[in-house]
Symmetry: C2
Subunit: 243 residues, 2 copies
DNA sequence: CGGAGTTTTGATTAGCGTCAAACACTGTGG
DNA sequence: CCACAGTGTTTGACGCTAATCAAAACTCCG
């Protein structure tokens, strides 16, 4: 509900340039020759404070958004009020890929840290996707990747133990951050509360604490400040696939 | 591995006409005037016997397929061999919507009953999607629906009890069949074995049996032959959302 | 230093898995 | 028509995973 601070509304110099990975680069600068007909979609930067829910399920989204800075997560709320986190969003991620195509989506999005995101004009964006075959391909690829992740998540929740799910979440975040060059020495920023992990892996916060304690005692991970360090990567990998 | 019987290879008169719902109609006959430039994608009908796995994870798919007749399911196999069913496929469903765009997908597809499906040429189909805005919209809509279902499934597996998941699966199938006019008097074809339900809901077959027994004893459902009848719809709905 | 949010720990219990055996259903060949 | 095999379902006994409840400890910030 609260308005983002003015500092967060200022232009974002990093967005659409390099750091966000391929998708934003492709979108902001049409790369194929045939694309000159389609101008880059109009964009507008916005910010949100940590803990702020900046998209609500079934609210009209005025545009398709790309996360520029900070972490977020997409979630849905069950009728009884419990929360299921569907995905964590890292810089460069679209806030729901298929949401690009649709005004109203059934998920909400909350900022985990202070974030900045870039809202593209939907019409422009769809136009761009349809006109530029490179963008079309890129976009299909993103849809596929998102679907693959959703399938992975279904398999995890349906078939794996709490230990495995937590291990896989850690590894999955590490891999994604690694692509973004944000892992050094097996350590990376980790702004998640145990409640978030619980809501993503389908267990209770209490049990997440026990799993973490077990992992720590086994010398697998170390958490200091808002950083997580993997101390025994092979073993964590083994656990994540075990059984 | 076995070749489908010749009867299954004969032309499918129902496909692409009416019964499959909007998607095939749109795809087989471009509806918007602007679409005359894009011919309907080439298509080829094929069949598979019940239990046959007719697409294997990461095999090259020669085309994007639409299920014409019979039931199937998409699944993935965990490293330890266990199976997670990702979705049940009913006549008119695309076999993985995003798979339309990609040659190799990470899921396998098996026939639940004898099936007939229609393989569209991928290049033609993508062309059609890009050229005809109605098809593009329809396709986006299908992607969105598929993503919504995946999200629902994540929430179910992460947050609901076995009773709820089974109830929701039954209701979800009933709703989808209802749209296809294949529900009469709250009863519908039900070719699933309890093993399938177990693999879809993330429980064991033994427990599925217990849930079914409980539902039967409570006068909620009745299973005869390969048909399922819902006897107390409001109560089944209540259970599916309870807690 | 106070207070809210978060994590840890312990005790108990519910839900579901595992194992094993019995039972039912269907189609096959004699 | 029956025997039999193969597949699928039901039932019981028991054990383990993770939920629940409750309290204490710890952290972060004002």
């Amino acid at each position: 509900m609260g308005q983002p601070a003015t500092a967060l509304d200022s232009p974002c110099t990093t967005c659409s340039v390099r750091e966000l990975g391929v998708c934003s680069t492709v979108l902001s600068r049409p790369v194929s020759p045939a694309a000159s007909a389609a101008p880059a979609p109009r964009q507008q930067h916005r910010g949100a404070r940590a803990r702020q829910t900046f998209y609500r399920a079934n609210d009209a989204m005025d545009g398709a958004s790309l996360l520029c800075r900070g972490w977020g997560f997409a979630f849905s709320i069950l009728p009884d009020g419990r929360r299921q986190i569907l995905s964590f969003l890292l810089p460069g991620d679209f806030i729901s890929t298929v949401g690009v195509l649709k005004e109203r989506v059934g998920v909400s999005v909350q900022a985990l840290t202070d974030v900045r995101y870039c809202a593209y004009d939907r019409t422009d964006l769809i136009n761009c996707i349809r006109t530029d075959s490179k963008v079309f391909d890129k976009f299909s690829e993103l849809c596929n990747a998102e679907r693959d992740e959703a399938n992975e998540m279904v398999a995890d929740l349906g078939r794996r133990t709490a230990d495995q799910r937590v291990a896989r979440l850690i590894l999955s975040l590490m891999t994604r951050l690694s692509v973004r060059k944000q892992v050094r020495d097996n350590a990376f920023e980790f702004p998640l509360r145990q409640q978030h992990i619980a809501d993503a892996t389908g267990v209770t916060p209490v049990h997440v604490s026990r799993v973490f304690t077990a992992f720590r005692n086994a010398g697998l991970i170390e958490i200091k400040g808002r950083f997580l360090k993997v101390l025994n990567l092979p073993e964590l990998r083994r656990i994540s696939n075990a059984r």
